[in-house]
């Protein structure tokens, strides 16, 4: 039996996979192109041109520090978000244990497991509830004194926001002396980070999630935090991360952070939340049995993570792709094949439901019209797969 394909011609693309990285912002690209015209790339050197390049770098660093309300000396430039997360974990010299939430990004999870093995310390998993949020009181009972604690600001798959400030407060109250690292990569495009930054000792950020360059990441290292570098060599970044910095990249990063800061401060993010909510409502109206993960808790404004009972991610994503809707399964292996995400499993989602998960992540650049079209694509695709089940 032959069924016609849902969309024979190449349809225009709807990019709803911002959690994987947003296209480079126009002003960021421009700032990067203009950053070092006529200047050498290396800010280290005993001559005037190197000093000029260094000036560009430090201007960008100050801009980033101002936006994040930290001291410029607390801003360490890395080569991306994964490196920042790895450095946040491995950089702490002698934790008594490493405590991570059950829903951390693999960049934190893998680093924690390896660091625990290398140091001979226990890696303790902080359980999450069915909405993917850690229980602060339970966490405090299992976190030992002197531990490195790493809990993300918000989950990259579901968007669920973690109670970071509450955790820090509860630990101080216990009292427990810990070092807190926070993977703020997923949260940074749409969530104000003031509370996170005030509560934590180490904070990771990534350029490409902000519409900045993927070559650039940031690790905030609060002054006084015990720290040792991973990348060794020329001692750049005050001996915290060796390697010639991508100065144009840092300029781009600074511009991206400034843009995002503005969007959050002016409340533009609320219009994003409304669009996401409308998309969610469209889909649920047509298909009420679709599960929305973490919908009961505070979520990032652009995240929509769903599972369709009895359907696998591959089928959904292929149909979406045929119709131009760019989405993700939320979790994939190195080969790119979808897999049941550890985040959903930790939330108590069944393996079957986890295999049918897909994630749509919107940004301010997405329009109402795109929401309408995407809604149709999702509804139609789910209908078709349900029909083929019969």
């Amino acid at each position: 039996m032959q069924r016609p394909s849902l969309s024979p011609e190449q349809s225009p693309s709807i990019f709803f996979d911002h959690a994987a990285g947003s296209p480079l912002r126009g002003d960021v690209a421009q700032a990067m192109a203009e950053a070092l015209v006529g200047l050498p790339p290396n800010p280290s050197g005993a001559h005037r041109l190197a000093r000029r390049t260094q000036g560009v770098l430090e201007d960008a660093r100050e801009s980033i520090a101002n936006a994040l309300a930290v001291d410029p000396r607390e801003v360490v430039i890395t080569g991306g978000g994964t490196e920042s997360c790895n450095l946040g974990i491995f950089g702490v010299p002698s934790p008594t244990a490493i405590c991570i939430s059950a829903v951390e990004h693999v960049a934190v999870r893998e680093a924690a497991v390896a660091a625990g093995a290398a140091l001979g310390v226990e890696v303790i998993e902080l359980a999450v509830d069915r909405d993917g949020v850690i229980d602060v009181h339970k966490a405090v009972t299992v976190i030992p004194d002197g531990a490195l604690v790493s809990v993300m600001a918000a989950n990259n798959e579901t968007g669920a926001i973690q109670p970071i400030a509450a955790l820090r407060k509860a630990l101080r109250h216990a009292p427990r002396t810990v070092i807190m690292h926070c993977d703020a990569v997923a949260a940074s495009p749409t969530m104000a980070l003031d509370e996170i930054i005030a509560s934590c000792d180490l904070i990771s950020l990534a350029g490409h999630k902000l519409g900045g360059p993927p070559s650039c990441g940031i690790l905030i290292v609060k002054s006084g935090t015990p720290f040792r570098p991973r990348a060794l060599g020329g001692g750049q970044e005050l001996e915290r991360r060796a390697g010639t910095q991508d100065v144009a990249g840092v300029v781009g990063m600074a511009q991206a952070i400034s843009d995002v800061h503005f969007e959050i401060e002016t409340g533009a993010v609320e219009s994003l939340r409304k669009r996401r909510d409308r998309l969610q409502a469209l889909i649920l109206d047509a298909h009420p049995t679709v599960r929305v993960h973490s919908q009961r808790v505070d979520r990032l404004a652009g995240h929509l993570h769903m599972s369709v009972p009895g359907v696998v991610s591959e089928d959904l994503l292929m149909l979406f792709d045929q119709q131009g809707l760019c989405a993700s399964a939320g979790a994939a292996c190195a080969s790119g094949a979808p897999r049941a995400s550890h985040v959903l499993i930790a939330m108590g989602v069944s393996e079957d439901d986890a295999r049918g998960a897909f994630r749509l992540t919107l940004a301010l650049s997405n329009s109402d019209e795109e929401v309408d079209r995407a809604g149709e694509v999702v509804i139609r695709s789910i209908s078709r797969l349900k029909a083929s089940q019969e």
Binding site: R3, E314, D315, M318, D321, Q322, G336, P338, L385
Partner: protein, 347 residues
């Protein structure tokens, strides 16, 4: 939908269909989670397939069927070895995954056909569809497709069966495809060359040492350290007899911890039993109780004309023994390249 393994054959299959004007989407199956160095299934192979898809300008996806693969291919492979059988996992993969789960997926998503890079041909004549050998007999893979039904064959396309392997590589080279010079994948995709079959089985099951017993005299004439690795009909590794003649394994009994051996002459068989419930007939079973068929008993063995009687093959001249678990593919005596069906060899 084209199943792309990252090898040159499936790359060219996709290319041919695209040039014929079809709307093509490439899919790679992720089947094996463990390490792989055979040229099929590793992340590097997926990257190759993805790159070729990008060079061809076609959509491309990776589907995770690792659970099904473990259940239908890997576990039965281990189980078969426990019984002293010699399974063909590639046949089971074709049966359950490539032409099972993947065919179902293709259908669900509204594709017209599933294409692969197998060297074989689909022949359609007046509503009758046949599977026939590929043009390049040395590379013919109809044997590993002999478990397919006519209904399945109707949904399959095999573009490279009309070409020789050399022509396939040349076309890939001419079009600048990354995989043109990639060597063919050898051996079982989930067995690494270092640890080998032994290492793989040791990890998941056990390896049983045993005695080598002379089938005639019952005497113990040697020992092997891995009975599970002995294939019926094997002449290697079992030593030689008093006359300097190689010993052939004729019975592997894991429970009794022994392998029986004899001379090559005495090892020959005139009949081969097949498992009743494993018969596949492309156009339905033969009418007569006794039919002449051409049988192929290994992937690259010479075909033999013989008689199928019930569920046994009777040979005109005695042949070397064939291990249980192997597939016997049947071809038509009146149309030697056409597959009639297959069955699995019993003990």
């Amino acid at each position: 939908m084209v199943a792309m393994s990252g090898g040159v054959d499936s790359s060219v299959a996709a290319l041919l269909l695209l040039e014929q004007g079809h709307d093509v989407t490439g899919v790679t199956l992720k089947l094996w989670d463990g390490p792989s160095d055979t040229g099929c299934c590793s992340v590097a192979d997926v990257d190759d397939a993805r790159r070729v898809a990008s060079q061809l300008g076609i959509d491309y996806h990776v589907a995770n069927m690792a659970d099904e693969f473990t259940a239908h291919v890997v576990e039965p492979y281990v189980d078969a070895h426990r019984l002293g059988h010699t399974p063909n996992p590639c046949i089971e993969c074709n049966r359950h995954l490539k032409f099972g789960s993947l065919l179902a997926m293709m259908d669900r998503l509204g594709f017209e056909a599933l294409a692969t890079g197998h060297h074989a041909r689909i022949r359609s004549r007046e509503n009758r569809v046949d599977l026939i050998r590929g043009v390049d007999h040395a590379k013919d893979q109809s044997y590993v497709l002999s478990m397919l039904s006519e209904e399945q064959l109707r949904q399959i396309s095999l573009p490279v069966g009309e070409m020789t392997k050399a022509e396939v590589r040349q076309l890939a080279l001419d079009r600048g495809l990354r995989t043109s010079m990639k060597p063919d994948s050898q051996d079982v995709c989930f067995i690494q060359s270092g640890p080998g079959r032994r290492g793989f089985l040791e990890e998941r099951s056990q390896i049983t040492p045993g005695e080598i017993i002379d089938a005639q005299s019952g005497e113990v004439v040697g020992a092997v350290d891995a009975l599970e690795l002995v294939t019926l009909g094997q002449r290697q590794g079992l030593g030689i007899d008093a006359e300097g003649v190689k010993r052939v394994a004729v019975r592997v009994d894991i429970a009794a911890k022994r392998v029986e051996v004899t001379t090559p002459e005495r090892s020959l068989i005139s009949e081969l039993p097949l498992f009743d419930e494993t018969f596949n007939w492309v156009h339905g079973p033969p009418q007569a109780e006794s039919t002449r068929v051409i049988a192929q008993l290994r992937a690259h063995a010479d075909p033999i004309i013989c008689t199928l009687q019930g569920s046994r093959l009777i040979f005109d001249q005695p042949i070397n023994p064939v291990a249980p678990g192997q597939t016997a593919a049947f071809y038509d005596v009146d149309d030697a390249d056409a597959v009639l069906g297959s069955a699995i060899v019993a003990l």
